[in-house]
């Protein structure tokens, strides 16, 4: 693979994110199961539904670019998920596990916020207004999911874990 333009880099990054979102569709159910707090379970379950929508939106973007949806192994999401699994396996206390689940989920949210933020800027630069609008919806949902997790952590999860 050789990348010679911003447009090609945009397309490669789209494939990376398509891999990441599909990986998360498989990974989030495990986090729902592991979480102890019902509100945390619900938040991750809701984000799983959103994530399925993000996969569909990326497929729409591929179609808008007249490309077939294709995934390219995303080393970043592999590392983030591996790190999360390692930490979860080490934790014996249920409340501490909830705090760790929020923390790990937020590292994933931030990866996506960075990537979608970049793709939105590149789409704007490339004059792809429709693509920009679709990606912006997902960016907003990733930011909202991150905020919701912060809210749960500060409201009661961290307090319970520290008790």
């Amino acid at each position: 693979m050789t990348i010679k333009s911003l447009e090609e880099l945009f397309h490669e990054t789209l494939k990376d994110l398509y891999f990441a979102e599909k990986k998360l569709v498989k990974t989030l159910p495990g986090m729902v199961k592991k979480a102890v707090s019902p509100r945390l379970k619900e938040a991750i379950q809701d984000h799983l539904s959103e994530t399925e929508g993000h996969v569909t939106r990326l497929e729409e973007v591929f179609a808008m670019l007249d490309k077939k949806p294709s995934a390219k192994k995303c080393e970043a999401i592999e590392g983030l998920v591996m790190e999360a699994d390692e930490v979860f396996a080490e934790i014996e206390d249920a409340e501490t596990l909830d705090a760790a689940i929020i923390s790990s989920a937020q590292t994933v949210e931030h990866y996506e916020i960075a990537r979608y933020g970049t793709l939105v800027c590149w789409a704007r630069q490339l004059g792809m207004d429709d693509v920009e609008a679709v990606l912006h919806k997902t960016l907003d949902e990733e930011k909202a999911a991150d905020q919701r997790l912060s809210g749960l952590a500060e409201e009661y999860v961290n307090q319970k874990a520290a008790a």
Copy 2:
């Protein structure tokens, strides 16, 4: 390793971040070399100096907790850096490479923003005000570095890459 409390999880996460910051001290010089735009080179060089300071601050935090500084392999930063290297190797156009460098650096910044954000909240919950203050300084610098990169991208880097 078994984690039984938020305090122990805090300590483990500190080791993860210590590994990540030390890895970045080794990784950022390569990005300075690769970058074409002098202002981008300067921004990464400045952030390298800050990153050296972040390593020192983490050592201060270990000392405040009466712990020896120790690093624990951070799979996330390994994945983020591997992904960045893979993309850089594929790019043949110098202006597109600058856009990719900003994009990859921002995924790293966002990882750190997520991790320091969590550690600041946990330190507050655990009543470690001095530790919270030290980590907050780094959190602010990571956010500022991310903003500076966004500024360069929007000001001229993306435009040059799209030309």
